[in-house]
């Protein structure tokens, strides 16, 4: 029994050390939503209220009075965060209304993305990605959040497959019968022609 007690004691501090959350999940100073906690405590007094996403996020800095020199970009995909709070000079995003350049001090905007090329300009180097679609939020404090479903660097695209895909979907559009098939074929054509112009242009 003494052996077990010592084993338990040895395990406790290790657990406490390992209980730190991941580095990607910084414990924010934000307090949970107070109204929610109060309402919960009134109705269900025996249980702790569940946590909300606000308590897991770093708070964003407020809008500065002067335009900052750099734009802070978060570029996230479902399976990875490509760029996380990276300071850059400019990004060009493929919004549905066309290529949109974002500089520090850009007005707050919500824009939907269409398939196209996203380029990140940092000093002299430019990184280009082909994004499938998504959203971009530009906040007043020169933070830009780009959320895309799929993004690949341009050098990983194969020109032959792009041509083949384009031909496939064009034939599907002409042979499609239902609205759904036609819509799917149209989407395919849009994506592949954007891929094409990304590779050539």
């Amino acid at each position: 029994m003494l052996r077990q007690a010592s084993r338990l004691l040895a395990r406790a501090p290790i657990l406490a050390a390992r209980a730190r959350p991941f580095s990607t999940d910084l414990p924010a100073a934000q307090s949970a939503d107070a109204t929610f906690t109060e309402a919960w405590a009134k109705v269900i007094p025996n249980m702790d209220p569940p946590k909300t996403p606000l308590s897991f996020m770093q708070p964003r800095p407020p809008t500065p009075s002067s335009i900052p020199s750099k734009l802070t970009v978060n570029f996230v995909l479902p399976y990875s965060s490509e760029l996380a709070t990276k300071e850059v000079d400019m990004v060009i995003v493929p919004a549905t209304t066309g290529q949109m350049g974002v500089l520090p001090g850009h007005v707050a905007t919500i824009a939907e993305l269409k398939p196209g090329v996203l380029s990140v300009h940092e000093g002299t180097e430019v990184t280009k990605y082909f994004v499938s679609s998504g959203f971009v939020f530009i906040h007043a404090n020169s933070f830009a959040d780009i959320i895309a479903v799929e993004a690949v660097p341009l050098d990983q695209l194969d020109a032959n497959l792009v041509q083949k895909g384009l031909a496939d979907f064009t034939s599907k559009l002409s042979s499609g019968t239902t609205d759904l098939e036609k819509a799917e074929a149209q989407i395919g054509i849009d994506v592949h022609s954007a891929l094409n112009s990304a590779l050539t242009g």
Binding site: A19, P53, T96
Partner: protein, 325 residues
């Protein structure tokens, strides 16, 4: 050999041997020691029952140890995915804030749970929180419906909230989790369920021993507009220019749907991690328990074995001493 000698002299030592009538049934339930009748009425104690128990407990210990290893390897695989998906919901919360206390008419609680059991108490916590949210959002003209992912929550919620369940989805982890699958699921839910606010209940993975029940709220575009107009947390949403699309409403609709699929993806991954972690600790404590049980049974076994040896010896020695003297 001593036993054989005793049997040969059986006739002379009649008063030493006590033939016991075999009772039809025992008065006390399941005694740990069996007393058998030997060939000439000699008693010896059997350790068969204890030995059987020891064998089965040892097997259980092996099985639970193996299950713990399997859960550990599955956890490693899915943990990187969950970590990478953590950046996905943050932009939405940064833009739209988090309003779990939003007062809406149609609430939908999406409960995420596991399909398999033996994973500790995480599914019960999720169900308790879902029921709590149901209670919190009950009132005149307000209704709360459930969308259930996973067998375990289905089993618990179907007992008393059957009429409130809209959709049940199981066998989520048959194929490895990916965004396409989750977005199809989100599409189904959005098509079939009317909602003003979606509350997703899941267990967020902090570490192998700590899982925090969390609720993420996704509001429908109409509610977002209403909250933005009334000021408060979403007040400065109006200051955002909306590019593209015909109307602002269309963009907000797409935004809400995209937000739902992103938040669902992260929630499903986090819950899967929590499930594996909880299973690891449950199986670990179970194999430790089995080990303790085995120790106790071994002591009992040794005691009965030694007692039977001692009884044999006593009988032989008293028989031998009776011979001499």
């Amino acid at each position: 050999m001593a036993m054989a000698a005793l049997r040969r002299e059986g006739g002379r030592f009649a008063p030493l041997i006590y033939p016991r009538p075999i009772t039809a049934f025992r008065s006390s339930p399941l005694p740990p020691i069996l007393e058998n009748e030997g060939p000439v009425g000699v008693r010896y104690i059997s350790t068969q029952v204890v030995r059987n128990r020891m064998k089965s407990v040892k097997n259980i210990q092996k099985i639970t140890k193996a299950m713990k290893m399997v859960a550990a390897s599955k956890l490693r695989a899915i943990q990187t995915k969950a970590e990478n998906s953590r950046g996905l919901w943050q932009p939405f919360t940064a833009l739209l804030g988090d309003l779990p206390s939003a007062d809406v008419k149609k609430n939908v609680v999406v409960t995420i749970s596991s399909d398999k059991g033996l994973c500790g108490g995480i599914n019960s916590t999720s169900v308790k929180i879902s029921k709590g949210l149901h209670k919190l959002n009950s009132g005149p003209e307000k209704e709360t419906k459930y969308v259930i992912l996973g067998e375990k929550a289905k089993a618990q919620l179907i007992r008393d909230s059957k009429k409130d369940i809209e959709l049940i989805i199981t066998e989520l982890q048959k194929n490895p989790l990916n965004y396409t699958q989750v977005s199809v699921l989100a599409d189904e839910i959005l098509k079939n369920v009317e909602f003003d606010a979606l509350r997703i209940v899941f267990n967020k993975f902090h570490s192998v021993v700590s899982f925090v029940p969390t609720v993420s709220t996704v509001l429908s575009p109409e509610v977002v507009e209403k909250e933005a107009e009334s000021g408060g947390k979403l007040g400065d949403l109006d200051s955002y220019e909306v590019e593209g699309g015909e109307t602002k409403g269309e963009i907000l609709q797409n935004l809400a749907e995209f937000q739902f699929s992103c938040v669902m993806f992260n929630a499903v991954l986090e819950n899967a991690c929590s499930e594996q972690g909880a299973r690891m600790s449950a199986m670990d404590s179970s194999s430790r328990n089995a080990g303790d049980m085995l120790d106790r049974l071994t002591l009992t076994y040794n005691r009965t074995r030694q007692a039977s040896i001692t009884t044999e010896l006593i009988e032989i020695i008293s028989g031998a001493s009776a011979l001499e003297g």
